[in-house]
Symmetry: C2
Subunit: 371 residues, 2 copies
């Protein structure tokens, strides 16, 4: 292998693939990044066996070849170099990196030992503007479980219904659902998969602010591949049945409040300061005259009541919620005003964006705390 490319391109590509590398693996090659040069491109790849990523960079290739090198060292090295051309030359398993003022020898591990990232050679099942999908995923993935005890809850469920792509996650204490109208997008209409939340977070990061790009999704039996520009993210799917969540979405609610999202977030945050020793439990009280109060009590420390003005439809009402869940929901709702519906102490609360920009294609449900 012998090739030249710019520091900027190599550093950017390493930043894309580097996060997938597992640093604590018992298999040393998994801490490495694969460099594989063909006619005029360099492929960088990393995998943790669940999630694999390929990223292609244009370069001038004098001699094809492949090697794996320690990802962290190589990434830090390249990112510390000044901009300009970098020459990479492979001798046996020793990679030499040269710039006018820097010269490094890095001992690699043969590319033969690098695990195969499954290739999916089919037509894309779905093509969407990448940032539209990114925004939708960000609104949903927050509700996925961090606990792998029930694998389906640590995933994001994607399915198609009524010409809409539905993206949903729940950790059983809360649920977030986003519906993306598919309009002219071609699909076979039969999609129903669960993608690990970790994969979705990685995808959000990869899309970044790349506002022009298209996102292509490819599917095989137990793998999904997301393609954005010259990057491919391949992940296993989670097997199992996603909970039938339609039944927990309330068909009607008792009291609905229209409230400023930022103000609601701020009083929740303040209430949470006093709720820490109480597992984040805060009490929300809606007064018919147009006020929402949040109270929290810490036995040792003291107590707090915060309030905000709002428009109320329905009677006085109250419920206890987890402050963190409410904060996170308000953090992703993205509209300046939000609708917040309470139906007594035992029923779930429903949060929806308000305003013209966001029709009711997003909803967030939080289960009440028993007090």
């Amino acid at each position: 292998m012998k090739l030249s490319l710019t520091q900027e391109n190599l550093s950017h590509a390493l930043g894309m693939v580097g996060r997938v590398v597992s640093n604590r693996s018992s298999l040393p090659v998994l801490s490495n990044v694969l460099l594989n040069a063909d006619a005029n491109r360099l492929r960088l790849a990393a995998t943790n066996l669940e999630l694999g990523i390929n990223c292609w960079v244009g370069c001038k290739v004098d001699r094809a070849g492949a090697i794996t090198v320690p990802a962290r060292l190589f990434t830090e090295l390249v990112s510390s170099l000044p901009s300009g051309t970098i020459d990479l030359t492979l001798n046996d398993t020793n990679l030499s990196l040269k710039t006018p003022h820097y010269q490094s020898q890095i001992n690699g591990i043969s590319a033969d030992e690098f695990p195969l990232i499954p290739e999916i050679k089919t037509e894309p099942i779905l093509t969407l503007p990448a940032t539209v999908f990114r925004d939708a995923v960000q609104q949903v993935v927050v509700a996925a479980s961090l606990d792998e005890a029930r694998p389906v809850l640590a995933g994001v469920h994607l399915y198609i219904q009524d010409d809409k792509l539905i993206i949903v996650a729940t950790d059983s204490y809360r649920l977030a659902e986003k519906k993306l109208p598919l309009g002219g997008v071609k699909t076979d209409g039969k999609l129903s998969i669960i993608v690990p939340a970790r994969t979705m977070q990685e995808l959000v990061r990869i899309i970044g602010d790349n506002s022009e790009a298209e996102l292509n999704m490819y599917l095989s039996d137990n793998q999904i591949m997301f393609e954005v520009d010259t990057i491919e993210l391949t992940s296993r799917l989670i097997e199992g049945q996603f909970p039938n969540y339609a039944q927990i979405i309330p068909s009607s609610t008792q009291t609905t409040v229209a409230i400023d999202t930022g103000e609601f977030g701020r009083i929740t945050k303040v209430a949470n300061l006093f709720a820490r020793e109480n597992a984040g439990s805060i009490r929300i009280e809606v007064k018919g005259e147009g006020q929402l109060n949040i109270t929290s009590t810490a036995s040792q420390v003291g107590e707090n009541t915060s309030s905000a003005d709002c428009e109320v439809e329905g009677d006085d009402n109250e419920v206890a919620l987890n402050a963190k869940y409410l904060s996170e929901a308000l953090g992703v709702v993205r509209s300046p005003k939000v609708s917040f519906a309470i139906s007594g102490k035992l029923n779930p609360c429903v949060i929806k964006p308000l305003g013209k920009d966001e029709p009711s294609e997003y909803l967030h449900i939080i289960m009440p705390l028993r007090t």
Copy 2:
């Protein structure tokens, strides 16, 4: 106690005193901040028994009084509130905080239990522009020891000689010294103290970008007080004899290099990537024709040579240094070009700023590593 003040002023003052609070103390009152209102000012105070801080804030006092409240909770609460007026009212040991939309009760601990921060009622021994002192301390404190095994090395030595304030620190592997010309400043010329490095770092933070302020220093037998605007930082002094360091400052050097500070820093950083498993050891080689090379080797991983152009006075020379110490020295030297002097493998290296802005009032010495 009953008073009103602005959220901005209270939040700023809490930010100043809050960092001194010790959160893991066995004495609960040390986790608290003292609020003490007299005629028209509120005093905030915190102490960890070694270091104490007082900060005064102007406010409208209806009733004087004092209480201590949990510092972390109170600081987070106030910083989360919207700007505007805050009313504080004390009932027994219960502090009530009120704004139009927020209302909190915080259980405090009686102010009587708060340790006395020693008062020093003397004339200032020294008065300087605060930012001049801050810049000098930042260049020196990096060389102080983090290890309390030899207490004097965990301090910064201040003394006056030849109408200059000399600020010096050493952890025995490196030494930094800054001389501040005192010009017209009045002093009794007999200062010689050792201030804990932690105190100096706190002082740097307190001065911040407060470019207008004067810094007053007050001294008692075993305490020093720094006064900046309405803030007083009081610290114990370290007892003992600071090492007689004059003997380790080389009177002459063999080879001196003039080199771009940023470039020198960058090649040191890259070399350090390969020096990690070798305790940060890098080899610096100066070539008479005008090049400085840094090489480092990691047995498992590979090796690196980085180089930079420079002007050389003297013969070829080389030395092994700790990359972290060199990086930190280059990080505080503050001139675009730096002079770097080597005197063989066994003698210390000397780093000095170059250029008109910084005359030779700063020097940084790094001891070589035996290889």
